[in-house]
């Protein structure tokens, strides 16, 4: 379990002070994939780097598995870091060393014997699917392969936590998918807690259990991915979610419409019920679906439809009320003139 208590990180320069992380407290459970999202400069990277004390917090505590890292001396901190893996956006491999040597470095840090290192590195390369690249240098690898080496290095000493600093941001979409699948596999099979930061909501949607949204160094919203996606409270969160669930209609289409345009959201089981067709049969309105989509987030459906309702204004109002009661959200985007 990772507990962050009242964490503050202030960067002081001669002229002014910049607050990187502003009094953040949160708890990350064992075995979960926890995402931290926010725009650049929101403090998410700083927060992540405080978790293994690459950045020393100005105040506050970082407690991992009951040990407050901020109280450790240098040697104890090195020991603790063996159990906290980290991967990076730009991989940060040692370019003058082979894949094998890069992974072996982490084991050397744990003072493992030569035989143990040999055995464990082969095991790890097998796991990340790079056994055949053992003696290659990083310059001979693709981005995805480099990140796999990074993951192998991070997992070398059987950590309990894996920190991912924008681990997929430098990769193309299909490589991102495969790296995310690997992270998910690691999480499920090895039970490693994963904390990742990203500005890509796709990533969060694909693998996270819970997320924290950060702005100006503060956590402004925190919850399970499904709750945040279906019921975002803050403006920033909404804009992030919109980046993935694009339901915006083109302006010219909106202008041409004469009826009332509504956006209906369905969550969970009701996404599978025939509420819309019931509504159309009950009320004297015509419905025209302009846009629709069902997303699966953590294997739970989230349906969103944009409909144009035409007919008698009173009937439309009743239809809207009917749907509002039975679904998880209805938003009138444009009313009939």
């Amino acid at each position: 379990m990772i507990e962050v208590k009242n964490l503050v990180k202030v960067y002081s320069t001669k002229k002014n002070k910049v607050i990187g992380v502003d009094n953040v407290s949160l708890t990350i459970k064992n075995g979960e994939i926890f995402g931290i999202v926010g725009y650049s400069g929101a403090g998410k990277s700083t927060l992540l780097r405080c978790l293994n004390l690459l950045e020393r917090p100005t105040s506050g505590q970082v407690i991992i598995d009951g040990v407050d890292l901020t109280t450790l001396n240098k040697k104890e901190l090195r020991q603790a870091r063996l159990k906290i893996g980290m991967i990076f956006q730009h991989f940060h491999l040692v370019s003058s060393k082979t894949v094998f040597e890069n992974v072996a470095f982490a084991l050397k840090a744990a003072k493992k014997s030569k035989d143990e290192i040999e055995k464990r590195v082969n095991e790890l390369l097998e796991m990340v699917g790079l056994s055949d690249k053992r003696d290659a240098y990083p310059s001979q690898l693709s981005g995805g392969q480099k990140q796999r080496v990074g993951i192998a290095r991070a997992l070398a000493n059987e950590p309990t936590v894996l920190l991912c600093d924008e681990a997929t941001s430098a990769l193309d979409p299909s490589t991102t998918k495969s790296i995310l699948a690997l992270l998910k596999k690691i999480n499920r099979e090895l039970g490693i807690t994963i904390v990742l930061i990203t500005h890509e909501m796709e990533v969060v949607k694909d693998i996270c259990d819970r997320i924290a949204v950060m702005q100006d160094g503060k956590v402004i919203e925190l919850g399970t991915v499904y709750d945040i996606f279906t019921n975002p409270k803050e403006e920033l969160t909404k804009s992030f979610i919109n980046s993935v669930l694009q339901f915006d209609l083109p302006d010219h289409l909106l202008k041409k419409r004469t009826g009332t345009i509504v956006k209906i959201q369905f969550k969970g089981e009701i996404a599978e019920e025939a509420i819309v067709s019931d509504m159309l049969q009950t009320f004297k309105v015509k419905g025209n679906i302009l846009h629709g989509k069902i997303e699966y987030i953590q294997d739970m459906p989230l349906g969103i439809f944009v409909m144009e309702l035409t007919g008698d204004p009173d009937e439309i109002q009743r239809a809207i009320d009917y749907i509002s009661l039975r679904t998880n959200g209805l938003e009138v985007i444009a009313s009939a003139a």
């Binding site: 293994n52 690459l54 090195r78 020991q79 603790a80 870091r81 063996l82 906290i84 980290m86 990076f88 730009h90 940060h92 491999l93 040692v94 370019s95 003058s96 060393k97 470095f105 982490a106 050397k108 840090a109 744990a110 240098y137 310059s139 990074g150 290095r153 991070a154 070398a156 000493n157």
Partner: protein, 221 residues
């Protein structure tokens, strides 16, 4: 006539060449042995690095700059007491090697520091995150990553030493450069001067060529 004077010159040239090699070899070895750790220390004690230490950094930096700002001729003479202490004499190539070494150490240290600075900070950070000790990071990350730069640095230092060693004549150090100054500059003997200069040019070319080849060999990036 020209050939004759060249033939007569051969024993003198031979001696001078060996003296140059001798002085350069000694001072280069000292420069590497002392300058490499000094350069590493200058780098790792810098702000934001894993052995950050402002006091050490500024003291070392000050001493290095101080030695580097003294003109070599003055260093050569000024260090005579130290030379006497170390070698027991103040003349000859061995004596000249002391001042050459003292000048080469900070020179090479700065080059090492610069090549270390070229390393992506993230790579060092990744090693810190893995839980590696400072010694491991120096040995397994910094030195291998900076190897091509350090080899270039050795090349540059060697060439500078060949050039500086010409001034060793002041303390009777000898060497090719000294020959050029004594015969060519003081006695207007163009044959000797041109011959020695040609030898120096060839020597520098060979060093640079060899250095570049080695640098390419050790570069795995």
């Amino acid at each position: 006539m020209l050939l004759d004077s060249l033939m007569n010159l051969i024993p003198e040239l031979n001696k001078a060449f060996l003296e140059t090699l001798y002085m350069v070899a000694i001072s280069l070895s000292v420069a590497i042995i002392a300058g490499l750790p000094l350069g590493i220390l200058l780098f790792v004690t810098d702000r934001g690095l894993f052995l950050e230490n402002t006091t050490v950094k500024s003291i070392l930096g000050f001493v290095v700059n101080m030695i580097r700002s003294i003109p070599f001729v003055i260093l050569l003479v000024g260090l005579l007491p130290l030379t006497k202490l170390i070698t027991g004499t103040t003349i000859g190539p061995t004596a000249a090697s002391v001042s050459l070494s003292v000048a080469a150490i900070p020179f090479f240290a700065r080059i090492v520091e610069t090549s270390l600075r070229e390393i992506d900070k993230g790579v060092i950070e990744a090693a810190v995150a893995v839980g590696a000790t400072p010694w491991m990071i120096i040995k397994d990350v910094l030195l291998p990553e900076a190897r091509p730069g350090i080899v270039h640095g050795i090349t540059i230092t060697t060439i500078s030493l060949v050039v500086y060693s010409a001034m060793a004549g002041i303390v009777g150090g000898g060497g090719i450069g000294d020959l050029a100054i004594r015969f060519g500059y003081y006695r207007y003997d163009d044959t000797v001067m041109i011959t020695t200069i040609v030898i120096l040019i060839c020597l520098v070319q060979i060093i640079q060529f060899a250095g570049d080849r080695i640098a390419r060999l050790v570069d795995k990036r």
